[in-house]
Amino acid sequence: MTAASRQDPLVSDVAKLAVGIAGLALCLTLVFLGMRAVMDVGGACADGGPYVSAQRCPQGSTVALLGGMFGLFLFGGIAMWYGARIGGIWSAVPLLAWSGLFLSLGGNFLDYGVLNTPEGEGIIWGWAICGVMFMVMGGAPLIGGLSVFGAAPLRRSLGGTAAAGPGPGATGVRTVVLGPTVGGDGIGAFRAASATAAAASAPAPAPEPARRAELAAISADMGAAVTQALHESAAPDVDATPADNAFDEGTQALLDRLERLADLRDRGLLAADEYETAKETIVRELEARQ
């Protein structure tokens, strides 16, 4: 088992996210059970005021429903805040509460309105329609969200980096990075490191086409930038004036690559070890240029 790396989230942030997630689950449960209690007495009830209600609310259902609904906002805010601090897939995980809420309540509607209707009654269409609508409201964002985020960030967040073993995507980046044929000692070292990593991870299934294409584009960008940087360091620009104190084009391109790599890592598209390997190569090139 490997130790946690510097990119891994802090315990305090994880603990606060866990509080938010547990609170969301608690409030969803309260709303779910409170709704069932009200549906048990016909689906409508009233308490308080100067009038005598024909159907009083079951004991505790009012507190459960109101507390649960307001609690969803409170704990949803906490979970979103600390999920965003941790980053990656965790910034989106609290949004599952939306689907959880509507799917569970839609399930209640369908349960009472279609599957287990009161004795002597057929389908209760009011509840059945609400049930279908709630299912769509909960299910559509869930399916849409999964298709947008895809499986790669989820796999990386769930599987970690080295300890859980390389996934297909992780192997893909190494395979693709090996592709560009550019010269230089830095690239040679990068190739050697990548080859070692690829050998350690083989055999593995082929990466999915979309991710492979994205990684190929990144790899081509990196290869072009490093080649350009090497070319410029071999033949310095004699026309440069002393006023040109800013980074030259090649150095700037390398720095841009570093930023892009960090962005990809933050979005969960690059594993920590892949990022470190690529970063080391770029840093070596930058040092060589100095």
Binding site: D8, A18, A25, L28, T29, P58, G68
Partner: protein, 33 residues
């Protein structure tokens, strides 16, 4: 101190289970059951 990504998944799943159990108990408390 830092937490590995795989451990976060386990912690969050535990948080969900804990939340559901706590919510059920709390509801029983409200209803006096």
């Amino acid at each position: 101190m830092r937490v590995r990504p795989a451990a976060i998944t386990v912690i969050m799943l535990a948080a969900v289970v804990l939340g559901i159990v706590a919510g059920s108990r709390l509801f029983s408390l409200f209803t006096g059951g």
